[in-house]
């Protein structure tokens, strides 16, 4: 496992490096001059020239990149162009908020998706299966802003069970924000729920066809022990990968969901940053999202290897 881990970490570093190149170069296309954006329309030529010098905008591009990347690694993520405060505390605080939302959503949709998927597989092509597959397919396709707004109108405005708006104080603790988290978490969950249910279903169906399951049945084991000891142990393995692959979706879903509910997470920060052309926010926020994504993929691969003795990766 050692050499494998080192190689994977190396690959993540390479990915982060290339992603940082992409993010840096894309943000260079910014319409207009950054110094102009910072100082506003009525700034004098001299002031703009000064600021350009100060920000290092006159340096060659590769020097600018090295500067930016070096500072980023050292923890200096620059100052927000809008609020003029350091970016790092803002981004980390929003990251924590998004993590709370994502964590709650994962707690909802992973177990529920697995249960529904197993039920669908066991009742294959019968009514429960058709219902679960149909509904989960619909959920997979439903954009978060559609399902979120429908949830708001029924559960928040109609029944008054939950607050319709989650624009809480960004510094709230988990318990303080919990009531505001439930509706957004359900919204994010719907897509993931359908996805996990579908993948668990197909994984379980494959295993149910396997010879060793037949052998276990013929050996006279009870249906339940066949299911738990022989079927689930094998069919849930791919689900680990599926959960990890779904993280990309989850991150995208968070961006939209946070916008729907006004929840102060990383996604909303990024959308704000883009709307206000706040370059340092966009750069730091994007880098963090890419890092989280890569690390969660790595975690899934390692977990998969640990759970599945047959394919201990990298031996």
């Amino acid at each position: 496992m050692g050499p494998y881990l080192i190689r994977r970490f190396g690959f993540i570093l390479l990915t982060l490096f290339l992603a940082s190149l992409i993010i840096f170069s894309i943000t260079q296309f910014l319409p207009g001059d950054i110094a102009q954006v910072i100082l506003g329309q009525f700034a004098t030529e001299a002031a703009i020239a000064n600021l350009r010098e100060e920000l290092g905008l006159n340096d060659p591009l590769h020097m600018q990149y090295l500067n930016w990347a070096g500072n980023f690694i050292r923890g200096d993520w620059g100052d927000s162009l809008v609020s003029r405060t350091p970016v790092r505390p803002i981004v980390t605080q929003r990251l924590v908020n998004s993590a709370m939302l994502a964590g709650l959503a994962l707690l909802i949709y992973v177990p529920l998706g697995i249960i529904l998927g197993v039920i669908a597989a066991l009742k294959r092509d019968k009514l429960p299966d058709q219902l679960i597959t149909g509904v989960s397919m619909a959920f997979v396709g439903l954009p978060e802003f559609v399902s979120g707004l429908l949830l708001i109108s029924f559960l928040a405005i109609g029944l008054g069970w939950f607050p319709a708006n989650s624009s809480i104080d960004p510094d709230s603790t988990f318990l303080e924000s919990l009531p505001y988290l439930i509706l957004p978490a359900i919204t994010v969950s719907l897509t993931g729920l359908g996805y996990i249910a579908r993948m668990t279903r197909s994984g379980t169906i494959d295993v149910l066809r396997a010879d060793y399951v037949r052998a276990a049945e013929l050996k006279g084991l009870s249906g339940r022990s066949v299911l738990i000891r022989h079927v689930l142990r094998n069919s849930l393995l791919p689900t680990v990968t599926v959960v990890a692959m779904g993280i990309g979706w989850l991150l995208g879903g968070l961006i939209v969901t946070e916008a729907v509910y006004g929840y102060p997470g990383l996604g909303r920060l990024l959308v704000y940053g883009i709307q206000r052309q706040d370059l340092p926010i966009i750069q730091a926020g994007s880098m963090i999202v890419v890092a989280v994504y890569s690390l969660s993929n790595l975690a899934a691969d390692i977990l998969y290897g640990l759970l599945n003795p047959r394919i201990r990766v990298g031996k």
């Binding site: 260079q28 997979v140 802003f145 405005i157 579908r198």
Partner: protein, 296 residues
């Protein structure tokens, strides 16, 4: 018994492919629903703007936020524009943008996947590593950042969608090509002395097509999803165009006073996305029986 079995066998052979198709459709009701929804939306996109009772940007400030009535069957929005007409016209936008984006991604992904898989070696390695890097950034984030740089416009949204989904298509095509390369008919063609391009075009491509069709329909549903989400966030197509996602985003302000402003475009998006999803799932079951693969 044997005779009747033979009869059945004979009957089965004479069934026309079209009939077979419909017979299969009946077994999967969701597929049938999906295909019907997609056809209806295509018809709306083709003829909708002609039957729209009002112009999509015609404002009537005295008729702001009117609930559905005989004159405006879906009601009016915050500028007194007819929501029904806007949805009809918007259908063309969403299908065109998502459709051309998907086409761009499928075409480029097909070429990359074919050559990468068939040529192999260093070329394959480089192409696939680049694809990995693009995949290492969540799609919506990458779309947001690129649109931020290019500026939001219809064409740029198409370019972004087309670019984002290249890696997924290329990967699927490549894996099919790698599998086909080891088959005997490909080997035979090569030993006959056919050129590389001939083998790719005549032997491999036809066998890639079913996989490509399934992948394309899946990408199409994700594209609609993405285009609508970008519109909703205000980073995609800009006002006053009748983009459904944008309509939902704008309607949020008026949510408490006038829920229909939001419900109709949101319903249109939901119906279309779910319809395309059902259709692509059905295509997979019909064209690739046995193979259960599904990745993001």
């Amino acid at each position: 018994m044997a005779a009747s079995e033979q009869k059945i066998q004979k009957k089965k052979i004479t069934v026309s492919p079209l009939k077979k198709f419909f017979r299969r459709l009946r077994r999967y009701p969701t597929t049938f629903i999906g295909i019907s929804i997609v056809i209806i939306f295509l018809l709306i996109a083709a003829f909708g703007p002609l039957i729209a009772p009002y112009h999509y940007s015609q404002q009537d400030l005295l008729q702001r936020l009117q609930p559905p009535s005989d004159e405006h069957i879906f009601g009016t929005d915050q500028f007194g524009r007819d929501i029904f007409s806007r949805i009809l016209v918007g259908s063309r936008d969403v299908l065109l943008i998502a459709g051309s984006g998907t086409a761009l991604a499928v075409f480029s992904g097909l070429l990359l996947g074919l050559f990468s898989g068939y040529i192999g070696g260093l070329f394959d390695e480089i192409v696939m590593r680049i694809m990995d890097v693009i995949l290492s950034i969540p799609p919506l984030l990458l779309a947001m950042v690129i649109l931020f740089a290019l500026g939001p416009s219809r064409l740029n949204v198409v370019i972004v969608v087309g670019f984002l989904y290249i890696p997924m298509v290329a990967r699927v095509v490549r894996s099919v090509v790698l599998e086909l390369k080891t088959r005997q008919f490909v080997e035979a063609a090569r030993l006959r002395g056919e050129t590389r391009l001939y083998v790719l075009y005549k032997e491999i491509l036809p066998n890639v097509l079913p996989h490509l069709a399934v992948e394309a329909s899946m990408r199409f549903s994700y594209s609609i999803f993405l285009v609508a989400s970008l519109g909703f966030l205000g980073l995609g197509v800009q006002p006053p165009s009748p983009d459904w996602g944008l309509m939902v985003g704008e309607a949020r302000t008026w949510f408490y006073q006038a829920q229909w402003v939001l419900f109709f475009p949101a319903g249109a998006i939901a119906t279309l996305v779910v319809g395309v999803g059902f259709m692509s799932d059905g295509l997979r079951r019909m064209l690739l029986p046995g193979g259960v693969t599904d990745d993001g």
